[in-house]
Point group: C2
Chain length 501, copies 2
């Protein structure tokens, strides 16, 4: 029982890729669908062996002598991968709707990025990684202005780069703690007791503050982040944590239009619980310095909530003096059809912190002026990001603008979601709860079919997908995913479902 | 008082660069000293303006609109920097003995690294960053074998890459917790209670385990790491922490040969305290899963201990069933004359975990077989490192071998330390406690001189140094720092001291 629970969790672990098998050989519709300028893309999937093929198996064994390879799906030939297609070391070419856990913004080997690499003026940026916090390169302010600050969310004037998503959230939490304590002590200097006790991890220098998070959330795996992550036991088991409040996240019923009353009630219930927890933790002597939330709970199962919910949440943070941190590590970068998913909310009072990574290529966070730590070296580490990633990001943003990729995402997302609606109507016993924003879509698979028929098909895989939550498939294509790519996928998926019925 | 304490801590903050001013103009001895193959290096420092110069000041103002710039020293022209010399945006060329907080292994713009960038076969590695844990590139096992595993410390067969030093230590801690709990539950499956409680941060799923660290240590700034960091209040103030045990680190008296009895006693005292804390924390219900220690406490003031101390510490971890984690983030990579500083100890029983970052260009940690987490996805994140950094590392290791850089480090470190001994004998009122291994050297400056005469001289700076601890200057040159570079520095330093006397 226990062991089956673990293995079930592992089978569904969020990073486990899923593949779809086409019946005989992969069928695709690229000729029928309008094809656009992504001429570095392939025409469609092409499978030569089962996956993992012999070469992948050999390499997995080799790597297994060096590290745990339980999560390795197969080995890739990144040189041969193009656009929306990932090519493996056995020559299989797969349509990629998972894009390295949602972290490839404009597909593989985009010509604009290759061109950037060919520019000798950029060499030094790769070869000399600076300690950005003390000795930044000459072009750093310009680079920030043309990249990150050019897409700063409303109300955000300041940005801090970091190396990855976890570091971004860790430092965002630290900013919120520092801000909260400065506010509490009236911006006067810390006491001698503060300074001496913090050195030995004790109050008042290391105060008993908390971050409120939501059940089902994922904010990273370093120990601060992990205390706000509640999506899978396997992430958290055996790691010490903080006694921080965890609120329920709304569990919406679908289709939304049929359950508007129930869903509004569900959201109210969760918001009430948030306020109750803030009060309760204050009484416990562990006040909530900030609330962290994903616009769509991704790893936790693509759980959505309404713009109303988030606007109310923002009001609650104001009322109780907590900071409001929107974690856009997975949702940011255009995949919902707006550059930031929280732009869909119509917030009048902007968030305090918005963190990012993945598709932005560099980690980091935007913040309001007042959230910026009051002294240097409080938010600091050796590298503070990596300017070579900012260089790529500038070019990615150019491509997004030049090719109107946010509009493309909206269009192809609509095609994808409409297709999922149709298939769901056709196969109500297998599919349910199709949902999404832009191409950031998901659908639930009935348990039996999920386990028996989709996960296990290791032959003729044409499509790379990711799982999330208990029984969802998540779609995370690159921003260059077009309507005809959606059609290729839907055709394959339709064939698979016809076989399962 | 309080405010002066904070500002004193800031003034001495470990990342604050120090400069040395030469009396009239920089004098150097490069013609006298033997010069070797580092022909991409400059001949010596060359100053054109005060530092920060007008262009740096302008850029600092510009960047100040985007982020906290309190720690920025000046802006750099990395294109023009070469070898041991960092060039700033105002055309000043400085001998760099700090190397981006000890993170530049073979100097600026090393021809071998530039050549690697020019190889079109490497393009894809930069442009397509994979999710290494699930979809590694074909050459990943070979790359690990030829880079990290070719320098694996004794007893270490497995390596996990990570993005930075903090992530490396966070995940190393997690490995130790997982290992400890697996051992405790006899490698049987976790209970339902474990699995359900861990989701809400509670025991037994999130157990009350601890990591023992040392006062004066620095292991990073994310929340798990920060609970083991005890070098400066400004790093820790206002951030919640864990109640984990903190042992005293030996405070050796110098010169070592005069205080052998006292120092042995001091080390014994610290080791006894370690054992007492292990027992005490077990009784408190927060058993020590692992001990983390730096071979030389770097940020905390370049505090050394004897090989005996570390061998005894290793025995204590065995006796009490704790893991032994050696943090080589700053000491690793050859700077002590051996590739890993802990190779100087002659450990018969190897460490369990050795973490690295900085000069290794990628973060990560080596571990013994048994420390590797038993299931996939327990130690995991999106990127799990960055293969483009492994590519550079392979070439750095080639250069280290080809140019016998570890021998060079031993030679130039000896010249540097002997020079410091001489100056210390000449200026006992200013300098004390000269110490080091390889070029990883430090010297203490008397408080008055430190504050009044060295930190404040912002004109004609020729040399970049770092501060550490309360009153130390630390030397962290690149591995291509030669004896004649040591002489250039010593001549400048000697002139400065003559002025101060």
């Amino acid at each position: 029982m226990v062991s089956s629970l673990i293995s079930r969790q592992l089978a569904l672990s969020l990073h486990k890729n899923l593949w779809l098998s086409a019946p005989a050989r992969c069928r695709y519709v690229s000729k029928a669908a309008a094809k656009t300028q992504a001429d570095f893309d392939y025409d469609g999937p092409s499978m030569k062996t089962s996956v993992p093929g012999p070469r992948s198996q050999e390499l997995t064994k080799q790597l297994g002598e060096m590290q745990n390879v339980g999560a390795v799906n197969f080995f890739c030939n990144y040189e041969e991968s193009r656009g929306n297609y990932l090519v493996d070391v056995d020559g299989n070419r797969m349509l990629d709707l998972y894009t390295q856990i949602s972290s490839i913004p404009i597909g593989y080997n985009h010509p604009a990025l290759l061109k950037l690499m060919a520019n000798p003026n950029n060499l030094s940026t790769f070869v000399n990684r600076p300690a950005l916090g003390i000795l930044p390169p000459e072009n750093f302010p310009d680079r920030l202005a043309e990249s990150l600050l050019s897409v700063a969310p409303s109300g955000m004037t300041r940005v801090q780069t970091m190396a990855c998503g976890s570091c971004s959230n860790e430092n965002a939490f630290k900013s919120m703690f520092i801000w909260y304590k400065n506010k509490e002590r009236g911006h006067s200097t810390p006491s001698n007791e503060d300074l001496s006790t913090c050195m030995i991890n004790q109050v008042p220098g290391c105060p008993d503050l908390s971050i409120l998070s939501f059940m089902g959330s994922f904010h990273g795996r370093t120990m601060g982040c992990l205390a706000t992550t509640h999506s899978k036991a396997i992430h958290k088991l055996d790691i010490p944590s903080f006694d921080w409040p965890i609120a329920p996240f709304p569990r919406l019923q679908y289709p939304l239009e049929e359950f508007s009353r129930e869903n509004a009630q569900e959201e109210s219930r969760c918001l009430e619980e948030v306020e109750d927890l803030i009060v309760k933790w204050r009484q416990k002597g562990k006040p909530v310095a900030g609330i962290v939330v994903e616009p769509i709970q991704a790893e936790g199962g693509d759980n959505h909530a309404s713009p109303d919910f988030f606007r109310s949440l923002r009001k609650i943070t104001r009322k109780h003096g907590c900071a409001f941190h929107v974690d856009e590590v997975q949702t940011g970068g255009g995949t919902t059809g707006k550059f930031w998913a929280h732009e869909h909310w119509g917030l009048e009072d902007p968030a305090d912190i918005v963190s990012f990574s993945k598709k932005l290529l560099t980690g980091g966070y935007f913040q309001r002026d007042e959230l910026q730590a009051n002294e240097p070296y409080r938010i600091f580490n050796t590298w503070m990001g990596d300017p070579s990633k900012n260089l790529f990001l500038s070019e990615v943003l150019n491509v997004i603008r030049r090719e109107n990729l946010l509009e493309e995402v909206t269009r192809s997302g609509k095609a994808l979601l409409n297709g999922l609606y149709e298939l769901q109507a056709q196969y109500p016993g297998i599919l349910s709860r199709a949902r999404g924003q832009g191409t950031f879509c998901a659908v639930d698979i009935s348990w039996a079919h999920h386990q028996n028929s989709i996960c296990k098909t290791y032959h003729s895989k044409c499509v790379i997908l990711g799982g999330c939550g208990e029984r969802s498939i998540r779609f995370r294509p690159a921003l260059i995913f077009k309507e005809y790519h959606a059609q290729i996928f839907l055709n394959i998926f339709s064939d698979v479902l016809a076989q399962l019925k």
